[in-house]
């Protein structure tokens, strides 16, 4: 299958197979009026199978979301058809408005303007807790 190279934008590579669509939605790409290709189940030497997302436009992308969903992914920044930067993802220490606190007793349940902030409290077990009420993210 051929997907054209992109000129200016971003290639999110080494996404664990099956996580491509999840990332697509969490990054809000479904709401963007730009060319996006989601390639699923590509053969990968490193992962066996992987997903890839190509975004053919220079739009702001929340890299923390990528790090949270799949810390093994890599982000390649493309300018004028050339790879100019390669970024390895990692679990972000803090997430802003990516997850929502599900605790009905949390202050964010009544005060809608408050940002939903989660902090990485246990990197080994990938546990995030609400910065306000400390409830574990589901």
């Amino acid at each position: 299958m051929n997907i054209d190279s992109i000129r200016n934008g971003m290639v999110i590579d080494h996404i664990s197979a099956g996580y491509g669509m999840k990332l697509y939605h969490l990054l809000g790409l479904d709401e963007q009026d730009v060319s996006v290709a989601i390639i699923k189940n590509v053969t990968s030497r490193k992962l066996g199978k992987k997903d890839i997302i190509k975004i053919d436009a220079e739009i702001p992308v929340n890299l923390d979301v990528i790090g949270y969903v799949d810390p093994g992914a890599t982000v390649n920044i493309i300018k004028n058809g050339e790879l100019v930067e390669k970024k390895n993802m990692a679990l972000p220490t803090e997430l802003h408005n990516v997850l929502r606190c599900k605790n009905p007793r949390c202050i964010t349940s009544t005060e809608q303007e408050l940002p939903h902030v989660f902090r990485l409290t246990d990197p080994e077990r990938k546990i995030y807790r609400c910065a306000w009420c400390e409830t574990k993210a589901e």
């Binding site: 007793r105 949390c106 202050i107 349940s109 009544t110 005060e111 910065a131 400390e134």
Partner: protein, 306 residues
């Protein structure tokens, strides 16, 4: 601006500093009687509370300061839909320090991030209640003379009891502390407390449903009330509320130097007949709470340069 949201915001050195100051206040109350003259504490209680609110108010008056407060949550601006952030920004214009209780978890942190003055968390839902823990710690210090090498029994509602979780976190920082966790199966200490606080630090603990069996081993017995307001289901509350009732008969199995503590209010989990027993410390705890709140107000005001 330094506030107090969680007991772990204070280092063990600072806890030591506060207990030393509180004991000095107890020994020389006159030396502190005017330290907060001309200063105002605002008590913002968005949830009913008698003892905590009065303790803060008494603490500020005993320091020579004044207190302003709202009549009740129902008559406050919150009832009109004002955010916590806006309320504390407004109150910061009138008061030098705020003590706040709110039913929502995390509300105290929101207040601290927005107030122009120090905020003391006087309880945010089931989350934190650090000044209760300070009262508990001063009581332990005065009764036992130490925080280390203690066998601490916690009994009752260990699942929803925020005072229990805070006390475990606070005491887990000292050497040689062992916890005995006594509760019905349904109200056991949450697994994250056991894993993140106890297991991670290698602190010994024992879980049991049998109070009498472990009573002879304890230096401290911290009783708690099964709180009706933390249950969604009345049936569960009724089934569990009378599970542990401490009576003079049961207390015969305990050591002579046991200290019986309770954050109060009690319902029936400690028989009134025990109040006269020299091992009962819960009303001393109330008094100690006021002295620790005095010390805390002084510390936060000093750090704020007031």
């Amino acid at each position: 601006m330094r506030s107090l949201i969680d007991i772990l915001d204070l280092s063990t050195a600072e806890i030591e500093e506060l207990t030393v100051m509180a004991e000095d206040i107890i020994a020389r109350p006159d030396a502190y009687a005017h330290r907060m003259a001309g200063k105002k504490l605002a008590t913002l209680f968005f949830e009913p509370s008698t003892r905590t609110r009065m303790s803060f108010e008494a603490a500020m008056y005993d320091l020579g300061g004044n207190v302003i407060s709202m009549a009740s949550a129902g008559s406050s601006s919150a009832a009109k839909g004002e955010s916590v952030a806006d309320t504390v920004k407004t109150v910061s214009c009138y008061a030098d320090i705020i003590a706040m209780r709110h039913p929502k978890e995390g509300a105290a942190l929101v207040a601290a991030k927005n107030a122009g003055v120090p905020v003391i968390n006087a309880g945010d839902g089931g989350h934190c209640h650090p000044t209760q823990t300070l009262a508990d710690l001063l009581t332990i210090k005065r009764e036992k003379g130490r925080f280390s090498n203690l066998v601490v029994g916690l009994c009752g509602d260990l699942k929803f009891g925020r005072t229990v979780h805070s006390l475990i976190q606070a005491l887990a920082r000292y050497e040689g502390v062992k916890f005995v966790l006594i509760s019905p199966e349904e109200l056991k200490v949450p697994s994250y407390v056991k894993r993140d606080v106890l297991a991670r630090r290698g602190i010994p603990y024992e879980q049991t449903t049998d109070l009498l069996g472990v009573l002879p081993d304890l230096d401290i017995l911290y009783m708690t009330r099964v709180q009706r307001e933390r249950f969604f289901n009345e049936e569960d509350y009724l089934r569990l509320k009378d599970r542990y009732i401490l009576t003079p008969e049961k207390l015969k199995a305990a050591r002579e130097d046991l200290s019986i503590m309770h954050p109060l209010p009690r319902v029936n989990e400690i028989s009134v007949a025990i109040d006269a027993d020299p091992r009962a410390c819960y009303f001393k705890q109330v008094k100690n709470g006021k002295f620790m709140r005095m010390a805390l107000i002084l510390k936060l005001m000093e750090e704020a340069g007031k």
